[in-house]
Amino acid sequence: MAKRIRVLLAKLGLDSHTIGVTVIAKALRDAGMEVIYSGLKQTPEMVVRTAIQEDVDVVGLSSLSAAHMSHFSRVLELLRAEGASDKLVLGGGVIPERDAEKLRAMGVAAVFTMGATTTEIIEFIERWWTQREAQ
């Protein structure tokens, strides 16, 4: 049985736009990945719990609210505390470049803002996966 990349997509905080996430979920599915969409209004604690129970490889977080910095850093912190920092953490949403830079410094592997295509996201994940599997 082949290994499959498992991805959790979660929306942090209070924003209620789901269209973007649904499109990404479908694109990742069509690229052969198993996608768990955990819904709206997720807290960092819920995201990390879900990521561990589902044993996903990739955690895709989106946030449209100004609170993304503290949310993202809390997710990373909790993942580290749970010994689960081997997961690839990606960010998305409306995030100014200034913040994106800080997020990358924190340990978010990549930040995909509104202009990013699903192809870019898929290629990024697949490149990471290939490298990790080769190790």
Binding site: M1, L28, R29, G32, M33, M46, D55
Partner: protein, 321 residues
């Protein structure tokens, strides 16, 4: 490797959900570590009660599982959930959406929820679901709820895995016929008529009850269990305590009538065959000598497929030309 498996099994038995989740992943990916962990924990007596939840797509299975978790937690039970959704036959990927309906239990340490994709397996479950249920049991959960994919026809493997199978139906013209075609009546231990808040619930109940009478006649001679029908509104939790009571009565029946033991014996035999079906082809091929030459000869028309297959099955190499 067995060291890693032993360590994983020990952590899992101590209730470490990360270890549990990883071991399930090994089973899904066909990693040999998964089978080793299973062997480590196998042999311990079954403790957890496995409730299967099946029914047509969109019937409200996940919503019902969510409500059952709430009720089971109220009764002090620790709950593991295995929620199966279909893999895409085109890409092999999957959108696993069952969990979305169970979000409110995410932070409850007495609840473990794992989504599984079918990965090409027919029957309504993933190949790894059976092993996963054993692991969830070993991790100390009292009840394992198993949600199948939305069933069409012939997707009834859950009855081989669950102790108690709940079949969910909904009001709607023709749904009873659909359920009949799919063989859902034969596997149901308990019926939930969900979405009882929708119009048509009364006539759906009448139809179901008439069909249930027929099914009870069919089962004449078996230890007596007439599958009860419970109306539910999963989204509000209505009828869910009654549904769980009905499942509990079935559990008591299994123990008291000896039916539970009979089913356990059947389950063991079915699992044995399922494991062989899954693993035999690969092992056979791995063992075959001269496979490349056999296939080359086959493609060149020097031997036929029957002779080639027979040679491999007999454990030999290239048949005499």
């Amino acid at each position: 490797m067995s060291e890693r498996a032993r360590d994983a099994a020990a952590r899992l038995r101590a209730g470490d959900t990360a270890a549990l989740a990883r071991a399930i992943r090994w089973l899904e990916d066909g990693d040999a570590l998964g089978a080793s962990v299973l062997r480590e924990v196998a042999g311990a007596p079954e403790r957890a009660w496995r409730i299967g939840v099946t029914g047509p797509a969109g019937a409200g299975k996940s919503t019902l599982v969510d409500a059952l978790i709430t009720e089971l937690r109220r009764r002090g039970q620790r709950v593991g959930v295995l929620a199966v959704d279909p893999s895409s036959p085109f890409s092999g990927g999957a959108l696993l959406g069952d969990r979305l309906r169970m979000q409110r239990h995410t932070l409850d340490p007495g609840v473990f929820i794992r989504s599984m994709a079918t990965r090409g397996r027919m029957g309504g479950l993933a190949s790894a679901t059976h092993g996963a249920a054993i692991l969830v049991d070993a991790a100390g959960f009292d009840v394992v709820l198993i949600e199948t994919v939305g069933v069409g026809q012939d997707e009834l493997d859950v009855a081989e895995l669950a102790h108690t199978t709940v079949v969910v139906s909904v009001p709607g013209l023709g749904d009873e016929v659909q359920a009949l075609k799919a063989g859902l009546f034969e596997v149901a231990d308990v019926h939930a008529l969900n979405k009882a808040d929708l119009p048509g619930a009364d006539s759906a109940e009448r139809n179901l009850r008439a069909l249930l009478d027929l099914e009870t006649q069919r089962r004449e001679g078996e230890p007596r269990w007439a599958p009860p029908l419970v109306r539910t509104v999963a989204a509000r939790g209505d009828g869910v305590p009654a549904l769980l009571d009905a499942c509990d009565a079935h559990r008591v029946h299994l123990a008291a009538s000896g039916e539970g033991e009979r089913r356990a014996a059947t389950r063991a035999e079915q699992l044995f065959y399922a494991l062989l079906r899954e693993q035999a082809p690969q092992r056979l091929l791995a063992r075959a000598t001269d496979l490349d030459r056999t296939i080359a000869a086959l493609r060149a028309g020097e031997i036929d497929a029957f002779a080639a297959a027979e040679a491999v099955l007999a454990g030999g190499g290239l048949p005499a030309l």
